[in-house]
């Protein structure tokens, strides 16, 4: 139970830390910064686990794990999952979510409604849908997945490796991205 409690507490504590970092500093690659913050917190997690008593001073003896190594591993797995599947995804959704952006655009419109033909111009707080496409293309270039060769986009070997993973999965599950 100690591992689970520390994982939950660690995740909750990361939120104000992230907030302070994002508010005090101009962070350009925010997702990478979040991952670095999380990685920096892992030794702290292990240290706190090692330095605190098995019952945390409040748990009944029945909840004290007889195999602390297993419990520590469990706590780290849960802590990692809550970060990568929770905090990082919430950030990704807020920063890159297309459907969420449509909802916010409707909420921010003058009379709380947007006609379908108005959606592209209103997208992204009025930046327009083209800005979203540019952001995706810039992202692919920045991540080294495509490069510009003579003004034309070309996939890199890194992209080829990613496609080798994604494409068969998409085909097997009969999904079509977009």
């Amino acid at each position: 139970m100690k591992g689970l409690l520390l994982a939950l507490t660690g995740t909750v504590l990361l939120v104000p830390v992230i907030t302070v970092v994002f508010r005090l500093f101009e962070v350009r690659r925010r997702a990478a910064a979040l991952v670095r913050l999380f990685l920096a917190s892992l030794p702290v997690f292990v240290l706190v686990y090692a330095l605190t008593p098995g019952d945390l001073g409040l748990l009944p003896q029945s909840l004290v794990e007889p195999r602390p190594g297993l419990e520590l591993a469990y706590g780290l797995v849960v802590y990692s999952a809550l970060f990568f599947g929770g905090l990082l995804q919430v950030y990704n959704l807020a920063d890159r979510g297309c459907s969420l952006r449509i909802l916010i655009d409707i909420a921010e419109s003058a009379d709380g409604k947007l006609a379908e033909r108005e959606l592209p111009a209103a997208y992204g707080g009025g930046r327009g849908f083209g800005a979203m496409l540019d952001k995706r293309i810039d992202g692919l270039l920045e991540q080294g997945l495509v490069r510009l060769v003579g003004g034309r986009l070309e996939p890199t070997p890194r992209a080829a490796r990613a496609i080798r993973v994604y494409e068969p999965l998409q085909a097997f599950l009969r999904l079509k991205a977009g």
Binding site: I106, K113, A115, E116, P120, L133, L140, A159, L173, A177
Partner: protein
């Protein structure tokens, strides 16, 4: 109560998640699923029930059973974003189009995504999921949609994320 309760709870969670993934693969490959996200969530819910039942049968105490259940939940929150990358990511779709086209300029790539069509389709999905509704030619938010939009607007301001999207 068994002494190896946590290990058993973890093992039941791993088995349950494994079965969920196999069921997902088979169902999506051979079946005709219309509401795929909902189907996937239902599969993970079934996995959770399986994990809980497994722990009860194997005489694991409730707290360690809960630890196993948390692992199933963790698998769910990790798998869903991966699934959405496969199913709905613009970046993945663009990457495939760049690969297939061999000679594509950024402007030509942009032209393949007409805003009215792409956003119209997304808005229709949002309406289908109950986040928005159509009133004449326009979309308005439902209570659920407004709550989500307001929460994320607050978060975007708090973390200084800019317009995003």
């Amino acid at each position: 109560m068994r002494a190896d309760g946590l290990a058993v709870a973890i093992a039941t969670a791993i088995v349950a998640v494994g079965l969920v993934l196999v069921a997902h693969a088979l169902l999506f490959h051979f079946g005709r699923i219309h509401r795929r996200s909902r189907a996937l969530a239902a599969l993970f819910a079934a996995g959770l029930v399986l994990q809980l039942a497994g722990c009860r049968v194997l005489d694991v105490d409730w707290w360690r059973t809960l630890c196993g259940a948390v692992l199933v939940f963790c698998a769910f929150i990790l798998y869903m974003p991966f699934y959405y990358v496969l199913a709905a990511s613009f970046s993945v779709r663009m990457l495939l189009e760049i690969r297939d086209a061999t000679t594509l300029t950024p402007a030509e790539l942009r032209a393949r995504y007409p805003g009215d069509r792409v956003l119209g389709a997304r808005a229709a999905i949002l309406a289908g999921a109950g986040y928005a509704r159509r009133v004449g030619e326009a979309y308005v938010l439902t209570g659920k949609g407004l709550l989500l939009a307001t929460s994320f607007r607050f978060m975007k301001r708090l973390w200084r994320l800019g317009p995003g999207g």
